[in-house]
Symmetry: C2
Subunit: 459 residues, 2 copies
Amino acid sequence: MSRIFEFIDTHQERFTQELFDLLRIPSVSTDSALKQDVRKAAEFLAAKLEDAGMENVQIAETPGHPVVMANYLHAGDDKPTVLIYGHYDVQPPDPLDLWTSPPFEPVEKDGKVYARGASDDKGQAYIHVKALEAWLKSGEKLPVNVKIIIEGEEEIGSPNLVPFLEKHKEDLACDMVLVSDTAMFAKDTPSITYGLRGLAYMEMEVFGPNRDLHSGVYGGALTNPLNALCEIVAQLKDENGVIQIPGFYDDVIDLSEEEREASRKLPFDEEGWKASIGIPSVHGEQGYTTLERKSARPTLDMNGMWGGYQGEGAKTVLPAKAGAKISMRLVPNQHPDKISALFADYIEKIKPEGVTVKVTAHHGGHPAMTPIDFYGLKAAGKAYKDVYGKEPLLAREGGSIPIVADFKNVLGVDTILMGFGLNTDAIHSPNEHFSLEDFHRGIKTSARFLEVLPEFEKS
Amino acid sequence: MSRIFEFIDTHQERFTQELFDLLRIPSVSTDSALKQDVRKAAEFLAAKLEDAGMENVQIAETPGHPVVMANYLHAGDDKPTVLIYGHYDVQPPDPLDLWTSPPFEPVEKDGKVYARGASDDKGQAYIHVKALEAWLKSGEKLPVNVKIIIEGEEEIGSPNLVPFLEKHKEDLACDMVLVSDTAMFAKDTPSITYGLRGLAYMEMEVFGPNRDLHSGVYGGALTNPLNALCEIVAQLKDENGVIQIPGFYDDVIDLSEEEREASRKLPFDEEGWKASIGIPSVHGEQGYTTLERKSARPTLDMNGMWGGYQGEGAKTVLPAKAGAKISMRLVPNQHPDKISALFADYIEKIKPEGVTVKVTAHHGGHPAMTPIDFYGLKAAGKAYKDVYGKEPLLAREGGSIPIVADFKNVLGVDTILMGFGLNTDAIHSPNEHFSLEDFHRGIKTSARFLEVLPEFEKS
């Protein structure tokens, strides 16, 4: 291993500059105006995989953004095969005025790189590209078979990934998937995520009169679609944070006593957490801790809303329509399609008289759990310990990586979530950043994981 | 009178073309980028008043947009003095994509002119400019003293008008104010508005975390400011449309039995009204008719709201803040400042834990009523009858013209609201328009009013 770690140390500065180059590409998958930039990011990664010595590198087309694929299959059929997954697309950077430096002009500050995608997921995905380079260029024999796919549609719900997995099912056959798209529990506190929430993301439009009306001439005699939207939303949760959609909790597997015990042992500083996001008090579902609420319980949050006059000053308008984006995080065994349907039914039932409501489901994702005795998880634990000097914690994560459930469904394998980010990385927010020290340690951890995996398979 | 009406008929086409020129000026008072265009509208009107033969024409500065002033005081001190008021500023034209022709490129279609400000209030204000021209150019002696002011800040709440009236109190001394900024009850159904609602216009901002958060990583453990905003708004009215702000109704003078009788006689086609705005059912305060709800009862409506991601697709963000514009229409004797304070107090009381709320009052306006036995109202009735061939109806109007209360307070006089618009003119909406026939008949009605007023004063 020493030659590999030496290679990583020697090339640290170049690896960082390459990451900066990748971060300069505004690969916002939801913005159709940036389609060519999204492809540019794929081309960049394909070139780097080629340079690293990976084989069968290709930019595989999908009906949307392409998937970068490559493999290196020289360990022998008796050795485990790892499929590494990442995504090169990023969230939109808005609101732009809150960034202290432009989102696609990476800068280093206090040991961190600031840019959209730094942590989610370009920085974390690139860790594995460089770990592979270290193996293949240092002259050591890679003891496992490796396949890699890096997609460009994760931030829009990976609409083409399942068909892609199905189409390439044989090419992608593996013993496990390795993903770095999660956070460590805290700085210098490596963690392995064994549970993820799912997602049902809805859009709701409320229609009132056939045009914007003068609020004086008409006001008082008809249902205002903005007020109606608020009245609907106010009925989605009660004052104890309990979601009121009938049947919503039917399939929820509650936390086991063992899990609640483990959760209580996690070093969570609630006061520090509150201070870090500037809130005076926590709030959530009664009967659960803050950690449980944000990782192991289902939620309902508005992500956006709009209607009427949003400009400067006052406009006395009674608007024709209002809209909102509302998403629900799901836990095992909730099904996104079922939850979406329950949501739509409930809205139709509670909508005020005098308006019509249209509910549309955006992308959804299944929740997922990896068994904590899986040998891949144990190998990951060993790799973390060898690089970070401590055993990783086992935690559930509040975010969604729907593709983890997809890998289970299509490829029949579990996923190792080897996160190197931090929850303070401001992913999806202005001033997203990623620790360059963890970028460096991540490359070593990934490389070490590939080394120790065969031992754990045997044990 | 015949020479004056002849003059009006002869110059009809020129009058219309002049109105089109005025409508081409995008005098949106709330848009600071259009400040020079607002002034251009004032300059246009000053020039036309000069051409008409009015005296002492000036563009009087204020801390905001200027007021156009002129007078013609040759009837003698024993004759009534009428102060004509109008406004040359207009509402913003958005949403632009719903206009079938550009808002500042007036076009004639089916006898109507389509443009922002066609009805509110450029078209109606210009009626009086042309009526004065007809008097002064036809060689007849104007039997009353006339003063005119046309301001440029009505759509932003006339913030500088009261100081202006106070400063020019002697110059503007009069026996009544004449305003055309209201609607007739229906086509060919002239109406005199004797009551107007007031306005309290509020902006509310709800602040949660100190930055936008990832809805998966954080969701479930803190109050979402968008959900909080909806929960607040849902508590502002109950299911019967009754406003829940404590003390809100304390100063409301309920409709008298006589007024309710008169209101029932108005030719209101509720089914046609519903169809015209495309709503399946009316909704409002229980115990009142649709007409009463939209003219003589106080209201609370959202005018705009915003927060989080409003773009294409899905963004899984838990936003840092949300905002809304909420206005209340007031009736005698509600006071806008008192209502604004009650609103702010109630919001502070009901706001959910975990968020802070900032409430700001935009402009307000007092409700107003003119005694129905005032001689000016009777003269206006006669003028309408002579031009339209029928007695005007007496109605209350749901909109606000706060300056009517200001005229009473500062100048001590009542206002005659001689409306020539229609409620279907789409004022404040896309495709605002104004009947050119009523523009023409309006000029005659205004001219006739100035003629018959002295007779009614004596009686």
